[in-house]
Amino acid sequence: MSILEVNHLKKVYTTRFGGSHVQALTDVNFSVEQGEFVAIMGESGSGKTTLLNILATLDRPTSGEVLLAGKNVLSIRERELAAFRRDNLGFVFQDFNLLDTFSIQDNIFLPLVLSGKKYPEMKQKLGPIAARLEITSLLKKFPYEVSGGQKQRTAVARALITEPQLILADEPTGALDSRSADSLLRLFEEINRGGQTILMVTHSIKAASSAGRVLFIKDGEVFHQIYRGGRTQEELYQQISDTLTLIATGAAVASAANYLHVEGGARHE
């Protein structure tokens, strides 16, 4: 069963005085199955961020639909959006987005508190998550007192604690050193093995190669996708790298691209 379905998504930005139009997304189609770990790759300006913002219900598309667990998120009313986001989506951002006014523990509690959960219940949920993410000893500290990797693990804990349908990660390793990045990616794989669906937008081949499937976006469309299948991470890395080269040299090898092009909306077998 697919947990996320994106059909014919289109987004056109109009400048403030309506002068010029910028087409960020032309026609995006893909779906994510329950328990999948999907990475979305693309160059700057390819529409990745726009796509993620729409999936996160922070932005609205010009046309098209987004179904989360069969429910069209675009039909949710503005005032219910925040609660919907809180209950169904978990976020991990490049720059962590922790609130410096809260301790690590309170940052993780934030979505639960907003949902009106009681302290004992929150505490009970926090215990195992903090242990798994190895941040139990940091709980009383404040964001400015811990390292980047620890901050990102806090953000992951915050995303996990609501047991969301889908975790959206926006360039999660972008601000981390390679060791922290590696450990975060291993963490994502581990969480994914536990059944959590993850959708990650990234630049990094390394990050993408830890996913089960990689989607490539170019000029506002899903240009290509690779399944990991039985491949090792190294093999996947190599293939992603090749594909990116292909995309970069796009025009010259148009025929090759044609051969590789997978029709939007292709389903995982």
Binding site: L58, R79, A82, N97, L98, D100, K118, Y119, M122
Partner: protein
């Protein structure tokens, strides 16, 4: 590189940062204008032409100049530090791009020069223009004629240029110090270095609460006006220090306590509000305490000067019931008669008539209340005692009393009539001197007596049976170090109204009367009496003196009030801006984590409201507690009308609330523009 590069860059910087520079520049301009106006007024020759109370007015205005310059120093430094904090990033960028610290210094030098020149030129221009208006207002307040002409004080201009020149130079040095002490990375990060969570300082919070409580306690418990005057400054200092402690330490301690209470803290609205407030209070506590203290000062100053000004007439009428009063100290049967004769001659010459004459002899003495006994012998009085323990006792004979008041009262030996309006439940015995006097009756009226009115102490009136008793009481007094038993505090008073209230006539009469004072001494001595001293009061002159003082005070009060309000506006404006930049990031994070836009707006709004209206509420409480004390002090100045003072305070407070709210709403718009 062009010689003018830095000069141009500096100009561009100021223009580009208009949002933070414009209010700063306006403040500098207004402060310069205010300083010039105050300085020019205090030396304005027109003040001498006002004729009334020019001396006391000059003193008040001179004091105002000092207050304004002190204020200018503190305030310009405060706003500049804010400015530098906001600009750190920009300066850091220049530094990274390859401008050395020397280059930066040159840029900042030019910026400071521009600001200084603009502030001084525009400020002085504005000052000169407004000076005339201020002078007209002042003259109007003092109910004086306005001399024509436009006055420009070179002296005040020079001192303004010197003061603000030095100030701007110091600010320049301070900016240099900040640039030299920091490295580019720090400059780039600017204000948004990870803010440490403030510690709860319980001790400081408790000390603050104790000081505030102490100040309030003094204000509420003091009943004696003189004590109120001496303890007023103690109370003020306690309250100011207490305010600072409570705003800085107390607020955070309380918030942390709330955070410890889990079932309270982990609720959606409390959760965000409390943690947000802890940081807001850390950054804003001093600024808020400043606002609170400034507002309280404005409120107390404006309300008390206003009620004094409005209550003046009433006050003068009470203190000086008649136009002219002559007092002859000494024991003489016929001094009044001789004086009256002379006066009649003068009145005839001047073709003037008098009315409402009050002429009587009395004994005026200060007494010290020790163990419920009124000691009037100075040699037995304890000099170490506070002034508060003193009171003024006026003794008259029954004959005089009945004559003046038109009554038919009678007294036996050892009996007295007692006038003591402050004390409601008196014993039937009044312990005066070494003796106990039987109080035959408590009276509610006593002859007006200017001497007793102008004294700050409690006034008690005693009516004794006859002249012997009066002299007997007089004799109880032995001045230390003098064996001369003939020393006397006996005094005759002769006071009257002029039928025709002509100031020039009054002046001529007073001149002529004082002229024959020396012959009066002689004549009394020839007749076997003694005359130690003559004093006289002219109501119009006293009135002018007080008018000069009160009118000047009111003017300075309102003037400084306006200046303080301007300061408050600026502090609030800068706070809104800096908060806006901080909140912007938080705003987006919360939205991503799953908070409604409206919800965020609501919580932020409630925090901002709390922060800005906290000082206003505290200022209201301070003013309320200052109330009993101020009304006692006003009592000394013979303003008995408490209702008037209440009204003035309430009106001032309401006006301030309205003004403050308007300021808040105007600045809040800038804030929301930044946030969204």
């Amino acid at each position: 590189m062009s010689k003018f590069f830095y000069a141009k860059l500096a100009a561009i910087n100021i223009r580009k940062n208009a949002r933070i520079y414009l209010p700063y520049l306006l403040t500098c301009i207004f402060t310069v204008a205010a300083y010039y106006m105050m300085g020019a007024l205090s030396v304005n020759p027109g003040i001498d032409d006002l004729e009334i109370g020019s001396g006391s007015l000059r003193v008040t205005l001179g004091l105002g100049v000092w207050v304004v310059s002190l204020f200018a120093c503190i305030f310009i430094f405060y706003t500049n530090s804010f400015l530098m904090k906001r600009r750190k990033k920009e300066i850091g960028l220049y530094n990274v791009l390859g401008m050395g610290k020397g280059h930066l210094s040159r840029m900042i030098f030019y910026e400071t020069v521009y600001l200084a020149v603009i502030s001084l030129v525009v400020g002085l221009g504005l000052g000169i223009l407004l000076d005339k208006a201020a002078f007209l207002t002042l003259a109007n307040l003092m109910q004086a004629e306005v001399p024509l002409g436009f006055y420009v004080s070179i002296g005040a201009m020079r001192s303004a240029v010197i003061l603000f020149g030095v100030l701007f130079f110091l600010i320049f040095l301070n900016s240099l110090r900040q640039i030299h002490l920091t490295n580019p990375i720090e400059l780039l990060r600017g204000g948004q270095l990870g803010e440490k969570e403030p510690k709860a300082r319980w001790l400081l919070a408790l000390i603050g609460a104790a000081m505030l409580g102490g100040g309030y306690w003094i204000a509420v418990t003091i009943t004696n006006p003189v004590q109120a005057l001496t303890l007023f400054f103690v109370a003020v200092i306690l309250v100011i220090l207490g305010t600072y402690c409570l705003f800085t330490a107390g607020s955070i301690a309380i918030l942390k306590l709330l955070r410890k209470n889990r079932s309270f803290y982990y609720k959606a609205n409390h959760f965000i509000a409390i943690s947000g407030m802890i940081y807001r209070m850390k950054q804003n506590a001093v600024g808020l305490a400043n606002i609170c203290v400034l507002s309280t000062m404005v409120l107390v100053m404006v309300s008390s000067t206003f009620s004094m000004y409005i209550g003046m007439e009433d006050m003068m009428e009470k203190t000086y019931p008649r136009d002219m009063e002559f007092l002859f100290q000494g024991d003489s049967e016929d001094v009044t008669e001789i004086f009256e004769g002379k006066l009649e001659e003068i009145l005839e010459q001047e073709n003037a008539e008098i009315e409402n004459v009050l002429s009587y002899t009395y004994l005026n003495t200060s007494a010290q209340k020790v163990n419920d006994r009124y000691i009037i012998d100075p040699s037995n009085q304890d000099n170490g005692m506070a002034v508060a323990e003193y009171c003024t006792i006026t003794v008259v004979t029954l004959e005089e009393y009945n004559r003046i008041m038109g009554t038919q009262k009678s007294l036996e030996e050892g009996e007295i009539l007692l006038y003591y309006p402050e004390e409601k439940n008196l014993d039937s015995v009044f312990p005066l001197g070494e003796e106990d006097w039987k109080v035959r009756e408590q009276i509610t009226e006593f002859p007006d007596n200017m001497q007793a009115n102008v004294m700050m102490t409690t006034h008690i009136g005693v009516v004794v049976k006859d002249k012997e008793t009066l002299l007997h009481i007089d004799q109880m007094r032995k001045w230390p170090g003098t064996e001369d038993e003939t020393t006397t505090e006996l005094e005759s008073c002769y006071s009257f109204d002029l039928k025709d209230h002509d100031p020039q006539l009054e002046e001529r009469i007073s001149d002529k009367v004082t002229y024959f004072f020396s012959s009066l001494y002689q004549e009394v001595a020839e007749n076997g009496g003694r005359l130690d001293m003559i004093r006289y009061y002219q109501k119009s002159q006293e009135e002018a003196l007080v008018m000069g003082l009160v009118g000047g005070l009111l003017f300075v009060g309102v003037f400084l009030g306006a200046l303080f309000i301007m300061a408050t506006i600026l502090i609030i404006y800068y706070k809104q801006i800096s908060e806006g930049y901080d909140d912007k990031d938080r705003f987006t994070i919360m939205e991503k984590v799953g908070m409604d836009k409206r919800e965020i707006r609501r919580t932020i709004r409630s925090q901002v409201l709390t922060v800005f209206f906290l000082p206003l509420i505290m200022a209201g409480i301070h003013t309320a507690f200052a109330f009993p004390m101020i009304s006692r002090i006003l009592q000394i100045l013979a303003l008995q009308n408490v209702g008037l003072y209440i009204l003035c305070t309430v009106i001032s407070y309401l006006a301030f609330v309205v003004l403050y709210s308007v300021i808040y709403m105007l600045t809040a718009r800038t804030y929301y523009k930044i946030v969204s």
